[in-house]
Subunit: 444 residues, 2 copies
C-alpha cells in the first residue's frame, strides 16, 4: 500500500486496513495531517485542529488494537466534526464570535457515538455563522475563488480535499447536500429523527437534521450506521432496530428502480448548464425515470419552511439576540428579526402543512424508489455567499432522507450534484438506489 496516498483511502478501506494491521491509525492520521498542512492554507477547512492531540488519539486506538481490546467499526479513522457539535475536549464556537472560546463540558451524542466506534476526532471544521448564511473562511478545494457551500463548509471541503475521509454536518435547509454537491463528494442527510441531535447547536427542532460527508457511498453508509439511535434528550428520536446501512447499500435492488424526476417550483433558479445536464441524465435512464410534476400548491412550501425556520431560530437564538445582536451579521440579524415577528398562528399553520406534504410524498414513493432532482441550482458560485439552498428546502421541511451524488460537472469544470430523495424512514434503501444510479451512470 502506497503510504503517500493513505489520505485518499476510503474510511471503509482504512478501517479494514487498521483492523487487519496493514496500517496503523497513527500512519493514517499522519498522512491526513500532512495533507492538511499542504492544502489548508488554500482551503481553510478547520476551525480547530490540534495535530498532536489527533496523533495521541490515533496512538491510543493503535494501543487498543495491540492490547486486544474491542475494535469499533471506525477504529482509528479520523473524522472531521462541524463546529456546531459539542466536543468535551475541543472548543465549539458555532461560527459566531458570541460563542468564541466556548468549551462544552460534554460531547454531543453523535460525537460520543463516534468515539464508541473508535473514530479519531480529528478537529472542528468551519461552519458559517450559527450554521446559517454568513460564510466562514473556507474555500472550494476545486477552485479557491468559489464557495464550498454552507453551512457545513469545512466538513465538505475537508473530505473533498483529502484531509479526512469522513466528516459530520448538519442541515436545516440545504447545509449538507449543497456543500457536498459543490465540493464533489457524497453527502447524506438521513430522515429527521433518526440521528440524535443532543449537544448540537439548536436552530429549529422541526428542521435541524444531522448529515455526513464521504468520498464513497459506502463511507456515508458506514458513518450513518454508527449514528442512528434513541436519545431521550432528542424528543424526535425513537427506539428502533439497528438499520443495516452498509449491507443494504451494498445489495442489489430486487427490482429495477424507478425514479421520479422532479424539477420543483424553484426550477426557474437553475443555472444555464443544469437543465441540459439533467435532461441527458433522465434520457440516459430511459424507463427507469419519468418526470413527475408537483401540484402548483406546493409553491408555498418554501414560505412554510422559512416561517418555521425563522420562528424557531428566533426562539433558539433568543439569548444571542438579547445579549449580542450587534455582533451578529446583518443577514442573521434580519433573519432573527423576521423570526421574532412571526405569529403563533402562522407558525402552527406552517407546521401543520408538513404532515400533508408527507402524505403526498408517501404516495409518490410507494410507486417510486426515489425522487431525482438537482442538489443545487448548479455548480458552486463565487465566494461572496454559500449558494442557494432552494433545491433542498422541500425535502428538509418534510424530513425525508436525501443523498447527493458527485456524478456530473458543469461547463466550468466544477462538480454538479445529483440529489436522490427517499421515503421517510427508508434511508438504507435510498443508499441502495443511489449505488444503483452511480453504477448506471458510470456504465453509461
Amino acid at each position: 500500500m502506497d503510504a503517500t496516498r493513505l489520505e485518499w483511502l476510503s474510511a471503509a478501506d482504512a478501517a479494514r486496513a487498521i483492523r487487519e494491521g496493514s496500517i496503523s491509525s497513527e500512519q493514517l492520521v499522519d498522512a491526513c495531517l500532512a495533507r492538511i498542512e499542504a492544502v489548508e492554507p488554500a482551503v481553510q477547512a478547520w476551525q480547530f485542529l490540534d495535530p498532536a492531540y489527533a496523533r495521541e488519539q490515533a496512538r491510543a486506538r493503535d494501543l487498543d488494537r495491540m492490547m486486544g481490546r474491542s475494535i469499533g467499526a471506525l477504529h482509528g479513522v479520523p473524522v472531521g466534526i462541524k463546529d456546531v457539535f459539542d466536543t468535551g475536549d475541543m472548543p465549539t464556537e458555532d461560527g459566531t464570535v458570541l460563542h468564541a472560546g466556548r468549551m462544552p463540558e460534554r460531547d454531543a451524542t453523535v460525537v460520543a457515538m463516534l468515539r464508541a466506534a473508535g473514530a479519531v476526532i480529528m478537529g472542528k471544521t468551519v461552519t458559517t455563522e450559527c450554521a446559517t448564511y454568513m460564510p466562514g473562511k473556507t474555500r472550494n478545494p476545486h477552485n479557491p475563488e468559489h464557495t464550498p457551500g454552507g453551512s457545513s463548509s469545512g466538513s465538505a471541503a475537508a473530505v473533498a480535499a483529502g484531509m479526512v475521509p469522513l466528516a459530520l454536518g448538519s442541515q436545516t435547509n440545504g447545509s449538507v447536500i449543497r456543500p457536498a454537491a459543490f465540493c464533489g463528494v457524497y453527502g447524506f442527510k438521513p430522515t429527521h429523527g433518526l440521528i440524535p441531535r443532543h449537544g448540537v447547536l439548536k436552530l429549529s427542532r422541526t428542521l435541524d437534521q444531522i448529515g455526513m460527508f464521504g468520498r464513497t457511498l459506502e463511507d456515508v453508509a458506514l458513518l450513518a450506521e454508527q449514528l442512528t439511535g434513541h436519545d431521550e434528550r432528542d424528543p424526535d428520536t425513537r427506539p428502533r432496530a439497528q438499520i443495516p446501512f452498509v449491507a443494504t447499500a451494498a445489495s442489489e435492488p430486487p427490482l429495477p428502480p424507478k425514479l421520479a424526476f422532479i424539477k420543483t417550483p424553484v426550477w426557474d433558479r437553475v443555472d444555464a448548464d443544469t437543465p441540459e445536464a439533467f435532461a441527458e441524465l433522465v434520457a440516459a435512464l430511459g424507463s427507469h425515470c419519468a418526470e413527475h410534476v408537483l401540484p402548483d400548491s406546493l409553491r408555498d412550501a418554501w414560505d412554510w419552511h422559512r416561517t418555521i425556520m425563522e420562528a424557531e431560530m428566533a426562539w433558539n437564538l433568543d439569548l444571542e439576540w438579547e445579549k449580542g445582536r450587534d455582533r451578529l451579521s446583518e443577514s442573521l440579524r434580519a433573519q432573527l428579526a423576521r423570526g421574532r415577528a412571526v405569529g403563533a398562528l402562522d407558525y402552527q399553520k406552517a407546521l401543520g402543512r408538513i404532515a400533508n406534504l408527507n402524505e403526498g410524498f408517501a404516495e409518490l414513493l410507494a410507486v417510486h424508489d426515489a425522487v431525482l432532482t438537482p442538489s443545487a441550482p448548479g455548480t458552486a458560485p463565487r465566494l461572496e455567499a454559500t449558494g442557494d439552498p432552494a433545491f433542498c428546502t422541500l425535502w428538509t421541511l418534510c424530513g425525508m432522507p436525501a443523498v447527493t451524488l458527485p456524478l456530473m460537472n458543469g461547463a466550468n469544470g466544477l462538480p454538479l450534484g445529483v440529489q436522490l430523495v427517499g421515503a421517510r424512514g427508508d434511508d438504507a434503501r435510498l443508499l441502495r438506489t443511489a449505488r444503483w444510479l452511480v453504477a448506471q451512470v458510470q456504465a453509461g
Copy 2:
C-alpha cells in the same frame, strides 16, 4: 340485589354482576334510563340520548354473553361520552351551533376502546361551547341553582346523579377535575400522552388530556385501564406496557405515603371555607403531610398556560373563526382573538417552560407520593359560569396525573374536592395514594 337501585351500582360491581349473570346489561341500562327520565329535567346532562339504541346495545351485550363470546372488562356497562368525542353512530356537536348535526364517520380511539371493552355507549353528555367556558344547559345535581362545572359538565353531572356509573371527559385547563369536584364524584386525568386523543375535539395538542368520572376510585381505575395505549394518530402517545390501574389502586402502599400540601400562587382566589377545610385535613394527616411552598417564579405559569392554550386554540379553531366567529360566544371569540395575536416567540418560550417545571416537580415527587391541593377555589358557584379552573392549570400545563376526591363539603352543603397530583407517568401509584387518603379520612 335490589333491582330498583341498579343505577347506583359501581361500574366494577355492575360488570361483575353482568359477567356472573346475576343481572343483565339490559336491566342495568333500563335502570339508568329510568333514573335519567326521572332527573334529567332538572339536571340536563345529555346532549344526545336514544334510549332505544342504548337498550339495543345492552341486548347485544347480553347476547354476547349467552353465546359464550368473549366478555370485556366493561361488558354491558353504560358509559356517558362528552360530546367532544367522535361517535360513528351518534352526532358529535362539540357544544357549538357551528357543529350542529355533525355526524362523524368513525369513533374516537377511546370510544372504539370502550366498545372493545364491551361498554354500552349510553349517549353524549353536555359540554360547554367547544369545551371552553360558555356554559351548556346542565345543572349541578346537588343544587340546580349551581353550576356542575365545566367543560365536562354533563359527564360529571350524569355520574353524580346516578344516570351512568362512568363517563368520559377532557381537560385543557380544569375541565375534568373541576366538574368532578363540584358534582362530588371522583375525577381522574391521567398523564398527558397516556390516553390517545384521536377523534376528540382538538383545542391544544400541548394541553388537551382525556379524563374520566366515576363514583368510586376503583371505577375510575377500571375505566382508565381500558383507555391507555399507543395510537399513531396521536403523536404524543407511545408504545408502552399495559398499566395495571385496578390492581395497583387496590394495593396497599409499601411505605406510609408522604404528601406535599401546596397552596399555589392562586391561593388568594379560594373561597372562605377552603383554607379551614384544608388546614383541618392537613392537620389530621399529621406526619403524612407537610406544606411545600413553590418558588415565586411559578406565578408566571398561569400566563404560560394561557399563551399556549389560546395560541393553539386559535390554530385548531381557525376554520370556525374564519367561517362563523359571529356564532361563537363573546368569551370564546375574545379567547380566539387573543390567541391569534400571540407571537411565535412567546408561544415557544411558554412551551419551553414546561420541561423546566417538570424537572422541579420530578424532584419534589421523588420524595413525596403526591401533591395535595384544592381541586377548585371552593364549592360550585351559582349557574352563570362554570367556575375557576386555576387550581388545575399548573398540573394540566405540566401534564401531570391528577385525581379529585369527594372528601369534604362546604358550609353550603355542596361538595368540596381534594386534589392529588402525581409524578408524570406514575398514574397507578397516584390512585393507590388516593385510596389510602380516602381510607385515612373516612377512618378519621
